[in-house]
């Protein structure tokens, strides 16, 4: 049976950035998931959560967990990404100086997610927002 969890994220709220990722980490630990898998999950989720805080107006994270996989869907209302291929390149970023002062915005978030996810789909509509679907197998198998 699948479990679902939902978290709301506010753009610009760096005080709470990482809360959802922290909650998911605690939950996976309680479920006894292997620590290397937990780390891949939370690195993906944290980078994606920070992206909403850094770039969007607000967003929603929906976590679906079953015995084999964790699916993380992040949907934001924001400016969107005009050129996804460019955004996926290491070092490319449109982050503001304020975001860079927080230790992010160096164009590494999306490549980090891609490197850690078993399956990663990103879609965006400029002027409307961006959606990410990140899947990681909890048992170390291919998705």
């Amino acid at each position: 049976m699948a479990m679902n969890f939902e978290y709301r994220v506010e753009g610009g709220d760096f005080t709470h950035a990482g809360y959802a990722s922290s909650q998911v980490k605690k939950m996976l630990k309680q479920l006894g998931v292997e620590s290397t898998v937990i780390k891949r999950v939370v690195v993906c989720l944290y980078e994606a959560e920070v992206n909403i805080v850094a770039h969007a107006w607000n967003g929603v994270i929906i976590i679906t967990l079953d015995a084999d996989n964790i699916l993380m869907k992040l949907t934001d209302n924001g400016p969107g990404i005009a050129d996804i291929e460019l955004a996926m390149q290491k070092g490319y970023s449109t982050a503001s100086p304020e975001v860079r002062e927080m230790g992010f915005g160096a164009g590494m978030g999306l490549p980090n997610i891609s490197a850690n996810a078993d399956r990663f789909v990103i879609t965006s509509e400029p002027g409307r927002g961006t959606s990410l679907e990140i899947t990681i197998n909890l048992n170390g198998n291919a998705v």
């Binding site: 950035a17 990722s21 939370v42 590494m108 490197a115």
Partner: protein
Amino acid sequence: MKVEEICSVTNGELVCGNATADREVTHAFASDLMSDVLTVDCSNLLLITGLANLQAIRTAEMSDIDCILFVRNKSVTPEMQNLAEELGITLIKSPATMFRASGELYRAGMKPLF
């Protein structure tokens, strides 16, 4: 290297955590860029950073880092300390620059990641 020795080598002050804990930190990574920290794959790691904000603590949490050394006399806010205590992360602050702290720790036997 134990927390006590990290403090001694960097002239650092323990902000929270247990200085005499038996836990050994074997490797260190110095960066102000949290996305760089999130690429690191190592346990028993010390994060050396000049980035003193809540996201440094959150990044350590996500990266399974148990100990952070803040350099250049950066202030640790009560919110940062509370979160670190909740997560069991040891915080140290040092007046040294990142270069000096890294150099002194390396000389004392702390290993680089690569």
